[in-house]
Symmetry: C2
Subunit: 389 residues, 2 copies
């Protein structure tokens, strides 16, 4: 069988190589500090677990409506009212297998073959690959610390024209943890919409902000797709449940597409997700947010002390994108050597785009403070005593 | 936002309209016999439930490897050895969110924009829509009782050429419940492969056969994609877990695609699925298969007695595709009137293609015998006394 061209354009993630090597080292008995994995270390909160257990008992686990359990769609819609003061009709909410499923819907609905889509570089690598899946053309727009690593209408305008049809924005961002300024987001949405383009806003790290909270793109326009998930703030990665809010005009098409490509999202996961909105659970999530903030502060200060550059203060998610230029000319080489010599795993910039990836590494603070301290101490020894130190 | 052209080509399912109306009647207090839903009525077996409960307790529900839990991939690979005597390397097995997710992988890997894909008409409607999702061109090949409603190399050869690139085969089939003859399948695979085309075999109804069991397409070639699922024989629809076996040459690309579009399949569902292979569970599933056979025999005899034509004996799945020509010129009108007047819900042929859909309705025997008897009695009253009776 021959492979469709779109697939050969999809590159493997370097973090997988790092992860595989880290696991091999662990099998050899080495202690590895994992700072490469973008997944909260906390377990699923007990109220959520309880709800899932109750749903499964008795075995009545059946297909749900394609768009999701009506109660869950209503709870998500209500969350937009509570959190952002934005009115969202439940019919615009589609429950999906993670934000990943949300991108399948949002981009399947928007990307024509050959259509250009603007993406921030560095950025989450899957955006470009979802665009390729639908035979669109990802346009990586270099962004820097001066932009807080975010797209703006000015940046995008240099690339507009020539088949450009839409944009994916994400704040807080992976890998930088930076937030886009609300005014910049509003203007970017305006710019793209005036040109008849589409906007998909990835809000998966909403809730994990350590200063001001982010506005949703829905505060600026109803004509955008907003993708979100229970994976990160709600700490439910392995359940695979997320959602997308679509404009009213896309509701019928989203319904048809979801019926065909998902039939439905896993029922136990949907029932679990519904429990995630309970007050006591949100209290626990806010406590966890406090812990993430402590970790961020600790790692941010510690890395700078060691001489890493962190050109834009990370205000959200659980990532720090650190300039390792003072220690190495090649971040991939840096990451590999660091892992071999000290057992600290992190992700080279190469996974996030083409804009100076050799200068950066991403560190995740998805491990307890004590482990981060251990990691930092090992990195310190490495950069002081190691090859480029 | 504008909608990508591919999406406007995806038509809504008529069964959704029937289902919605049936539920509305139920809310009004009417008793409805559901013969429209392609979902086993049995609960998830207790061993599977227990495994899921144990996996969830404590909340360690995390992303799994993109291709699935290694133990589950191994168990699925081993199943091919036990059931079919075919050797499958675990690395060729990708766990997916249902067979639906398997089609996203298999067709995302195979369908180039503009590529023609041959599909049996009548057939499962999502095949054509998956092809459209990847901007391919579904070619509906009319099949009849003389072919047991299956594709053959002769049938397909009339359509080959002109950009035709592949074929989806499915046996036992939805909506007809018929099996393809092993020799016909083998020759079809040979025909397509000689022309450099791809073959995807949907084996989701394997295990639900009431005479001879079906061979897997992997018995005839390693160079095919085989899609299967825990939804039907294993009775686990709402868990959303299935798999696809890909040729060795597609393993790396499937891995990359799965990492990007799924990250992973729901972890509780994967652990549940692993328990599905336990001996005692298979015994229970075989008992259920016996019940399905009884229902098939009952409904098959009953419908013929009433005067429906059933031109090809249904040997698998849980569907009967019945010719309602003796009672109506329009199966959609027949289905609607039947529901309104008697509260029996079934699916008009229109959902399954363009080849004489007005002449057929699909009935599911996913309800206990007593309910099927009730349904049959009501249908009897309708066709004897009703509009066309
Ligand atoms: C920026 C971003 N968007 C989307 C996702 C997809 O997450 P999920 O499918 O688990 O909701 C991730 C996962 O790491 C991410 O980092
Ligand atoms: C023929 C056929 N294939 C595939 C599917 C998809 O099933 P699932 O995604 O639940 O595995 C169905 C569901 O009804 C079906 O009838």
């Amino acid at each position: 069988m021959q492979i469709a061209r779109r697939t050969s354009d999809i590159r493997p993630f370097h973090v997988m190589e790092i992860l595989a090597r880290a696991q091999a080292l662990e099998r050899e008995g080495r202690d590895v500090v994992h700072m490469e994995v973008g997944e909260p270390d906390f377990p699923t909160p007990p109220w959520v677990v309880e709800a899932a257990l109750a749903a499964i008992q008795g075995g009545g686990v059946k297909y749900t409506p394609a768009a999701g359990l009506p109660e869950l769609r209503e709870a998500i819609a209500a969350y937009y009212g509570q959190r952002y003061g934005v009115r969202v009709e439940p019919r615009r909410v589609f429950v999906t297998p993670g934000a990943s499923g949300g991108f399948l819907l949002a981009l399947g609905l928007s990307v024509e073959p050959g259509a250009g889509v603007a993406l921030a570089d560095p950025g989450y690598p899957c955006y470009a690959n979802f665009v390729r899946l639908f035979d669109g053309v990802p346009h990586l727009v270099p962004v820097d610390a001066a932009d807080r690593f975010h797209l703006s209408w000015e940046r995008v305008s240099h690339y507009w024209g020539g088949g450009m049809r839409g944009v994916v924005v994400a704040s807080p961002a992976n890998p930088t943890g930076t937030l886009i300024e609300p005014g910049v987001l509003r203007e970017l949405i305006g710019f793209v919409q005036e040109r008849g383009g589409f906007v998909v806003s990835d809000e998966i790290y909403h809730g994990l902000e350590y200063g001001a909270a982010s506005p949703t793109a829905l505060e600026f326009s109803d004509e955008v797709c907003v993708v979100n998930s229970f994976s990160k703030y709600f700490g439910m990665t392995g359940w695979r449940v997320g959602w997308v809010v679509v404009p009213e005009g896309l509701v019928a098409a989203a319904e048809r597409l979801a019926q065909n490509i998902f039939i439905s999202t896993a029922m136990p996961s949907q029932v679990a997700a519904l429990a995630a909105f309970a007050e006591e659970n949100i209290r626990e999530l806010e406590r966890r947010r406090g812990l993430f903030r402590e970790r961020r502060d600790f790692l941010w200060a510690g890395l700078q002390e060691l001489g890493f550059g962190i050109p834009a203060r990370p205000e959200g998610a659980f990532y720090i994108y650190a300039d390792c230029g003072p220690f190495s000319r090649d971040s991939q080489d840096f990451a590999r050597s660091l892992l071999e010599e000290t057992g600290v795993a992190l992700t080279p910039g190469l996974d996030f785009g083409k804009h100076r990836p050799e200068g950066f590494v991403r560190l995740c603070y998805t491990a307890p403070l004590a482990r981060l301290a251990e990691g930092l101490a090992r990195i310190g020894g490495f950069v002081r005593g190691g090859p480029g130190g």
